[in-house]
Amino acid sequence: MSTTSDTGGPLLRVRGLTVGFPTAAGSVEVVKSLDFELARGGALGIVGESGSGKSMTSLAIMGLLPKGARRTGSIEFDGTELTALRERAMRAVRGDRIAMIFQDPLSSLNPYYTVGTQIAEAYRSHRKGVTRRQARAVAIEAMERVHIHDAARRVDHYPHQFSGGMRQRVMIAMMLSMEPELLIADEPTTALDVTVQAQILDLLAEIRADTGAGLILITHDLAVVSEVTDHIVVMREGELVEQGPVERIFTDPREAYTRMLLDAVPRIDDEIGLLKTTASAEEDR
């Protein structure tokens, strides 16, 4: 099984992670005592409906939770306890060792700067003494690695001049330029066309194979997870429902909720029937 580590402990070990927001009526917990691990070079899918706490989990790892959120529990990355790090030390990890891409690549890129500037800016802030010219070369190289044609010219284009899939490639190039050990992709294909989705997933798989970086893929779509990851964590309303290797979850789901999620994946051989819903779909916020 690929989740077993080859050197030392796992790349990421999350223990009892709880994220709460204080409200007038007491703390509302959006992630409740979550445990999971990611092996070195492993790929983990976190699956759940919207509101299940999967995005909050990824933001908790990055230390980018919204104002007022409270994070407890342990997040151990390569032997370092992230929750104990001061902001400055966490900033050195963020982007450099753990990188993240987001759902909507257009709004996630700043419209006022060229993509090259935005890629180079991350690189220059982490690697001291890098000249503009060097950073630009890194940006072009990163864009080439994510198969953006004519990267030397496109590097000076603005985000609005790219198509949706190309923008997501730019986002991926941005994190690739830092050669991170862990990639977190939060719904990276949700805003894209189906054909483009497949290309982006292929690209993520390719990068994983090339760099040996760990991958956490957050999605509501089990079909997406099955293509890229080897391990799955199923979440519902902030709680862990079940976790295990992809094959096991798909062939032998132990929880009724997982089975429902699996049934929600359209299959080509499906008979057209009533739409299956889950209990939490109605009470979704």
């Binding site: 980018l64 963020r94 990188a99 996630s108 700043n110 060229t114 802030s125 941005m174």
Partner: protein, 332 residues
């Protein structure tokens, strides 16, 4: 781009033409007969007729209007024969009160208004953007509430109250500033500066309050943007995140309002100039309104309209420079 410019220019011409027409109707047709007014007390019907003829007031409305418009571009001649007076372009006519060419009167006053406008604009931009930024950074904390409270006060005090209060406080009670005296910059730069300081402050306070609120709201809004989250996820320092990713998008809409506000102020700050006795466009307007000096009123109105329209166009051009989405079309 050039098509855009052409459209804007055309729009500008149309707007200015309409403003001309409107002011012409209001001041020359609807108001009392200027000939009677000019003629004074000891007047004969013959004298009135003579004045009418000289001013072209005996002509039909459209002819009068055409003479006025063409006078703006090619000048015009008042009267006929040996008494004829040539008024060179841009001819705005002659003041009924002083018989000076209106264009000259405006050109004399414009530097004063420009000085007032530029000084005030520098002050309110500095105060407004700095205040808004501090407020946004400290959102919900004491500094934010204090600044927000201050802006509310600044916005609610009328200019003339502020002007008189400041004059009383700074000149009479505290004696920090000398009594205002008009001196040219070259004679006594310090006195010149002191002289303008109060009008600058008075005009800046209200605008600074508005700009503070605007900057605060824009910065807080841009901090919610996904690209700010991306910038943080890249591990950028807070300073970089603020400067590059929050402030720049937040300042773009401020450019728009600033262009209009500045142009507006350049066209005369009526109340402030009057209170401080500064001979700018605003004072000229106030004086000519009280004396019903129609050509001057007309000239000042046209100038203000012209400045605002030009200001709007400059803003549009600036926008294309600032926002790459406007400047570079999508190249897919």
């Amino acid at each position: 781009m050039s098509r855009f410019l052409l459209n804007r220019l055309l729009g500008m011409v149309v707007v200015l033409f309409l403003v001309c027409l409107f002011t012409f109707v209001v001041f020359f047709v609807l108001s009392p007969d200027p000939a009677v007014q000019i003629c004074g007390k000891n007047c004969t019907p013959e004298a009135i007729d003579q004045i009418r003829e000289n001013l072209g007031l005996d002509q039909p409305f459209l002819t009068q209007f055409w003479t006025f418009i063409s006078g703006l571009f090619v000048g015009r001649t008042y009267g006929t024969g040996p008494n004829a007076i040539d008024c060179a372009a841009p001819c705005l006519g002659y003041s009924f009160q002083t018989s000076q060419p209106v264009a000259d009167m405006i050109m004399q006053r414009l530097p004063v208004s420009a000085t007032i406008a530029i000084g005030a604009a520098v002050l309110w931009l500095l105060a407004g953007i700095a205040g808004g930024l501090i407020s946004a950074v400290r959102e919900g904390r004491f500094a934010d509430r204090f600044i927000t409270g201050l802006t509310l006060t600044g916005m609610s005090i009328p200019n003339y109250v502020l002007a008189l209060a400041l004059q009383f406080l700074l000149v009479v009670t505290l004696g920090w500033l000398p009594f205002p005296q008009a001196v040219p910059f070259g004679d006594d730069p310090v006195q010149w500066f002191m002289n303008f300081l109060m009008p600058w402050i008075v005009l800046a306070i209200g605008a600074a309050a508005v700009y503070t609120r605007l900057t605060r709201a824009n910065v807080i809004e841009s901090l919610q943007e996904n690209y700010v989250r991306t910038a943080r996820a890249k591990g950028l320092s807070p300073g970089l995140v603020w400067r590059r990713h929050a402030l720049r998008p937040a300042l773009t809409p401020i450019v728009t309002i600033f262009g209009m506000d500045f142009a507006n102020l350049l066209g005369g700050a009526l109340i402030t100039e009057t209170v401080f006795g500064l001979n700018g466009i605003g004072k000229l307007a106030a004086d000519s309104i009280t004396k019903n000096d129609q050509p001057v009123i007309m000239g000042v109105t046209l100038l203000a309209a012209f400045l605002v329209v030009v200001g709007a166009m400059v803003v549009d051009l600036l926008y294309t420079a600032i926002d790459p989405r406007v400047r570079v079309g999508s190249a897919k």
